[in-house]
Symmetry: C4
Subunit: 275 residues, 4 copies
């Protein structure tokens, strides 16, 4: 009986590809609750609203923490159903230290420790957002998220190299801009870190306008930096474009193995290494 | 006689690929009228112009509504010529509830209901713009629009996943930015929704500058968010780039089944695996 | 003798792929003169500089017009050397009405018509810039320019369709934004054309900040428009990306004809249609 | 003995792919020191910090210059171990005039020439940043950096052509914008160079907002320029996207010459034409 309840609890709280009605209902309810929590976190900070409805927000928060705590406990209790975490103690510990599970704990734990309540909990509470990732696994978006993840991982070095060259460009440009503009705008370009803020805002083409070169030399330099900013967009776009072409090609050829035009037998990377 | 007139009306008001002179003339006149309506909607709101020429605008509006009403009635009347909507009542109803046809009705109906006239009709009137889509079908742009549509639909999940990850990033960044800047700029970063406005303006690299971080911590966070903004451009560009490569490839191979002109055997990936 | 001089003049003024020393010298001198003209046009408008050195600018302008006039006359005179324009009258006329040659005339003619001199000639003068295009033909950049041109032409419909959808989005968003913001910012969002200016600045992610939504509703709408702005970048990037892949593929396969895996004979689009 | 010390010194200061523990330690220490130097250059310019801790910054600078000088001397002394620079005098000279090695000298030399010390050395000092490039060679990022470099070089002409067309667009647009806005905003659009600054800020979609068109004509022109700005992003993204596809394709086919694992015959484009 106990084991059947645990099995059932596991099936409901853990996202499984098949899933039955209660399991789906649970997922939908959880996503809704997470959404309402985010909304509450955001709305609470709007001065008049936060003060007038502080009681309602507090009640909602207590109810939410109670539900999330219950869900957390059920998951840790039922996780032994998963062969990977079968051991009652070690399995549960290994389950609990997974990043996303740990986040779930961090997002609720502070409410039970009075000393910490004085700190600003908004960011910690917003970690509840990450719960959504767990539920993504069962949706029809999971393949897309996975492809995007694979593509980003496969081009990590190229993207980091772009970032690295960007940083060198940024530093050089900021030093030069500081030298060019500090006399004309001692307030704005007051230091190299301030010029680096200008540099980031320009390279990413955000361009707030809180800081902009005003001298002819500074503007020529600024125009060059803005042009490099285009490269900063074009390079990752090109890198990721070719990566998506590659990844989709790989997935397709994994599905249907190509054949040799001479003997007609199937060929493939795996095949070559098997022989 | 009656059926010949209806047939003729159908040929004229419905965009058909072949089309004869009157049909083309009708299309051109309709596009011109839609264009003039948009112009009138826009110009009417310019204060001095709208007041001085209010009579002319009213007359033009009445004439336009009359023409659009006539065209709408003719289309609903003649639609039974299309085998898909042949039934005099059910066919016409099914024709009338198509989104774009319904839009046509919504764009003119309010002018016949006195109670609604007091409401602001500008947005409703600007729905006339959507009429253009119907006419696009016969232009030489139709294939391009169709390819773009197919590509966007085929990558819908990947694009929505990107949007979803963006939203998570946005929320996290906004909470952190609110915590970092609210003391330095209590007016600007007054709440998390306000910080989310900043976040959207930065992630999309629009950068109005109405809100910008001013503290060192806020600027470092802002620089990171702006860098993620580049990814927000590069990911869809890469996704769509590979999708266009795919789609054009698919269309090409669908058009000419590759075969060797000398020995007649098929060539290509599929061919190899058939042998 | 006369015909030999004309032949020589033709070789020097017209960009020919081979080109000898005098021809190259002429090209370099012309590009330098065009560059100096642009510089003069720009510098002349800087208030103190333009007034102090007005004499020098005038002399330089007269000398430039004289040289460009001479070059224009020599080209029209010598163009009969080209078999396409061999006829002394009709050939020269057909040569003179080519867009770029006509531009050359427009850029110098006004200086000979006293009545027109009172008009602002800066834009007309800056047409001299277009002369550069003629010289591009002989440089090593010509292939790149040609590929870019071919790619843009091959995707013209897709790019125009994107522009068309953008315009529809822009109009709809501007009407909605006008309705959302006109009460809060009657100065800024004073009319639909004003809101369309905001819309263009946002969709292209330029974001000057001279106009930005301030109401919650307006900001939500603005965030959606800014997100569509990302699509406005990603779509053309994807379209052009696939077009470059196509074009380079086509150029490569034009160079080495592919062969049939069955009979070994070369295959190709041309081959198929020849049989 | 002497030659063994030199050999050892060479192995340590020069980045070699294998590398032993001392060599790795040296690399890490050098990167850390370069990072601290950059941090010092930036922090020193923050007014209160730079004044209060001027002594500490001076000491750190002297120590850094001493270390960089020592490292420079050891490298020039030990470089003869490399067969390419084996000659004691000519080899060392050829080694010393390599751009990155020369930069290292320029970044430290001024500190030994009292006359130059009065000049602003910040930019010269920040050249130390370039030392990082040498160390990149041994990291796992080197392949990515190399691919990016190859891709940029292979499409140099196409990118420069884009830049060239951009410049022509920029000049034309700036002249027109100057003519359209100079009466409405004589302060902002005071000259063509000022309008060119606006043009660059708009074409790159940075959009500071320090200069923005205010007249209807100017705004229409500005909208067109902003749309061209999208092309300025899409073209390089497309060019680089196809270049990455090409380059990765080339590297893959160079690595594994495709052969059928069953019959041993080569497969691939080349293979087909060989048969």
């Amino acid at each position: 009986m106990y084991s059947r309840i645990k099995r059932r609890a596991y099936e409901i709280v853990e996202p499984t590809p098949e899933g039955d009605r209660p399991s789906h209902l649970f997922d939908t309810a959880l996503i809704t609750l997470i959404g309402l929590n985010l909304l509450a976190i955001a709305l609470e900070t709007i001065a008049p609203l936060g003060e007038q409805a502080s009681g309602a927000f507090l009640v909602f928060e207590i109810v939410s923490v109670a539900i999330f705590t219950g869900e957390y406990l059920v998951r840790v209790w039922a996780c032994t159903e998963d062969p990977d975490y079968a051991h009652p103690v070690k399995g549960r510990l290994r389950f609990a230290v997974q990043p996303l599970v740990l986040m779930d704990l961090i997002a609720i734990l502070p409410f039970y420790i009075p000393l910490l309540v004085t700190a600003d909990l908004r960011f910690v509470r917003s970690l509840r957002l990450l719960r959504v990732f767990r539920l993504v696994k069962i949706t029809r978006y999971s393949e897309s998220v996975e492809i995007i993840g694979t593509v980003l991982r496969s081009r990590r070095n190229a993207l980091l190299s772009t970032l690295f060259v960007t940083f060198i460009l940024l530093f050089m440009a900021s030093v030069l801009m500081y030298l060019a503009e500090r006399d004309a705008q001692p307030e704005g370009f007051s230091s190299i870190p301030a010029a680096m803020w200008w540099g980031m805002v320009t390279l990413t083409t955000v361009g707030y306008g809180d800081l902009a070169p005003a001298t002819p030399l500074g503007r020529i330099l600024g125009a060059v930096v803005a042009l490099f900013g285009i490269g900063l967009f074009a390079l990752p776009a090109g890198i990721l474009g070719s990566a998506f072409v590659d990844e989709l090609e790989a997935r397709r050829s994994a599905r249907r193995p190509p054949a040799c035009p001479h003997c007609g037998k199937p060929i493939g990377d795996q095949a070559s290494s098997d022989t």
